[in-house]
Symmetry: C2
Subunit: 172 residues, 2 copies
Amino acid sequence: MQNKVGIAPVSGENLLFLTDDQLRRGIEAMFFAYRAFTSDPDLILADMDYGRAHHRALHFVHREPGLTVTALLDVLGVTKQSLNRVLRTLVEDGLVESRVGLRDRRERLLFLTEKGSALERRLSETQRARMRSAYRAAGPQAVAGFRQVLEAMMDRDTLRQFKALKDLSDPT
Amino acid sequence: MQNKVGIAPVSGENLLFLTDDQLRRGIEAMFFAYRAFTSDPDLILADMDYGRAHHRALHFVHREPGLTVTALLDVLGVTKQSLNRVLRTLVEDGLVESRVGLRDRRERLLFLTEKGSALERRLSETQRARMRSAYRAAGPQAVAGFRQVLEAMMDRDTLRQFKALKDLSDPT
DNA sequence: CTTATTACGTCAGGCTTGTTGACTTTCCAA
DNA sequence: TTGGAAAGTCAACAAGCCTGACGTAATAAG
């Protein structure tokens, strides 16, 4: 079970990067990096009455204007009751507009207002700045590896969701 | 602001990986991957009366047996009231042992019991299995890039904390 | 030997974000 | 016309975070 350093690798290759200690370091790196990754938006959101859930909703509505509540529910992986609370405040505060569907009038199509766009831009810019700086420091090859490992960590359905999002520029 | 594809890179290099769209994809990959990353332990924890906070405490106590409450507080980045609730249940349930410090009797040194070790192992093994599979699929070079980008995403203090943890096998 | 500081624990109260369950309204499609 | 999907609502609850205030024990500083 404890695949310590020094024990011969299973195959002929060098599999030192698969030792339990290396895996543990990876797990910890994910924990710390994710915390840093969310810290910038959290600071901005804390001033308003919003939280991380509002940011996520804004992000995906921005990304796919006119997506339905169900689609958003699916991508966020929460219950509609939970999302509804968040969405209601965003609509009340004039950040998100909810239009009745054209094809199917039961559906609600979600759009960002000018105000909503402005907040989304402000939030995501801090996050992109951090990402940009990390990408630049690590270089293109490291970025490719970063993306490869993250995708390999997702389970089938999550990966399908991720790929289903419009990929504007990624030729991978 | 919107550094679209097709606009000439700032320097002479190919900086396509730094476009806003690429950065957005990275941000989304982090979101989805982190969710997948925590899903396995969450399933196990849901059966018991424990949550993610308990897992984190178990992880770091396992990693550094005998660490003090303050040190744990520091690495987790939460308030002592929040940690105390978690720690109390873990001690009551016989997963964590809290011994009075030898050098300084105000300090409480934290250790996992046999039972605590067993749960920690069970939780972390699911997470390592996912990480192992992702690492194996992506290959050593991708893993190196993954780690590079994650570390570059951390801010100074977080990186210091991360590096301060005993690095048993990483020669980076 | 006081006094201040540190480490820890705890009580009280509040917030966000998630959950189940039950119910209604609206609307498409068989 | 009727069944069922989509959306929204109300209620109740829990995890997990927070701040503020207070108490105790032990060390450090004067």
